[in-house]
Subunit: 315 residues, 2 copies
Amino acid sequence: MAKKACLAEFGIIQRFFARKTITNSSTRLGIGDDCALLAIPDGYELAVTTDTMVENVHFFAGTDPEQLGHKLLAVNLSDLASMGAKPISVMLALTMPNVNEVWLTAFARGFLTLAERYGVDLIGGDTTSGALTLTVQAMGLIPRGQALLRSTAMPGDFIYLSGNLGDAGLGLKITQGYYCAYPDLALNRFNMPIPRIETGQALVNVARTCIDLSDGLASDLGHILEQSQVGASINWEDLPLSDAVRNYIEITGDWLMPLLAGDDYELCFTVSPENAAKVPVSCSKIGVIEANSGLRLIKSGTIQLLKVKGYEHFS
Amino acid sequence: MAKKACLAEFGIIQRFFARKTITNSSTRLGIGDDCALLAIPDGYELAVTTDTMVENVHFFAGTDPEQLGHKLLAVNLSDLASMGAKPISVMLALTMPNVNEVWLTAFARGFLTLAERYGVDLIGGDTTSGALTLTVQAMGLIPRGQALLRSTAMPGDFIYLSGNLGDAGLGLKITQGYYCAYPDLALNRFNMPIPRIETGQALVNVARTCIDLSDGLASDLGHILEQSQVGASINWEDLPLSDAVRNYIEITGDWLMPLLAGDDYELCFTVSPENAAKVPVSCSKIGVIEANSGLRLIKSGTIQLLKVKGYEHFS
């Protein structure tokens, strides 16, 4: 047991993932010792998050490993973005059934290309034998006391999205067989989401709350409402939708998809009316926070209550 | 896919693992938002480590969940101990095939009891559906520049162990069917290892290098030798062995077991002769660092070369 336990921690992480250079000034010691060491500059707090992706649960067996490496890191960086943090470093715990060099090379390329884009160092990890299970812990810096929380929305706050809704959901449907004449954008949004790092940092001292859309707008905005003990109304007509998603809705009638589908990794945030002018112009105002609990959707002049999914249980 | 992905992150982590109180002064924000927030005091660095345990690889199916919760945290805290760090917080990524409340309650009890003992906060995590795979990331504080590394051993340094060797290895053998008249100590060392947190902190400014024994003395001391580009001689007669392990060796002749077996989670460290008087009296001197590469064992007056296992590969 113990013997099987000590797999090629060093070998694999160093061979496939270690870059020659430490690029982030916070990294005092990277891969290769019992721990990594981080220096946190004075006046900053460290934001820490972890997300796991499991084969056949979060991604299909046979998923392109380069896209998978990208997405695994992106979903973790997205959590940092939603706090307004600047990512500095990540740890990678890789459980896999065997050592497939072609797979690992592609996976590492997807992971490290995104890491380099944001100056993030991979500072450590663990590799173990088992069913394909990928866990990242991501760390970022945020000026002390400035993090964007979920629990601080106020009635009257405007609700914004950093980008389009439902493209990733459409990408999933295309992967599952839905025919779309122009599938590339939707597939790309599903397979290679972009964490809204710059937008998140731009929202510090502007937004009152922020969350990233991993589980879908109704669910994730629901977390803000629940933790802030408020409600909201959103306007269907104001939702930012791509042509492909509008076309999908026209054909299928499935207008709930953009509200319920996950994986968009856009930011949903609330802003006091006084700060509205400071919101980046690329963002869309979709509604308003209200004192009454519940999430209301205004569509074609009628108001309907959206079920706010607090969280889902193991199926 | 995306729908199945959002399991009861909040529900499970909050129901089974969230304590009412934040106990560590570094924790600015714990479980419940996109990220946790940590305050790192001025003059300190953050030590970060991650370790995964997989069912049927690192532990047997059916392992007592309370012991498993303890051990999972212990092996991660042990990495902090080996740097001389003081643990402050941990994240838990829990992948499991279903939600078994009895199992989760016991697992959480084992995990949190050890966490409380060292004032460590569980600040976040993720729960996902899949084969039982447990990943912890542990974080600790170390005065800036004072971390105990692997790469700084010097010829002439004495080599020490913080406690007995081979008890966990004997515990594994007992688990696998070896008969031992007094099995409790060995089983306890195997199932419920104690991270040497206090000893690690006491070695800051005393030891020159330090590592924790997870893979066995030959392998782990081998990491120090390799990374410091030195060799060592250790004396068989000086190895600290329990009566149960001595008895095992007498019966089986398997004197290599304490050198090769893992899971002891004692600290192995090197100290310059000038600092030898400052080493805690509970520690045992077992050998000396030498300029010649290789790990030599002196036993009954003869010298034999121990194979220094750099790392093991997937089998």
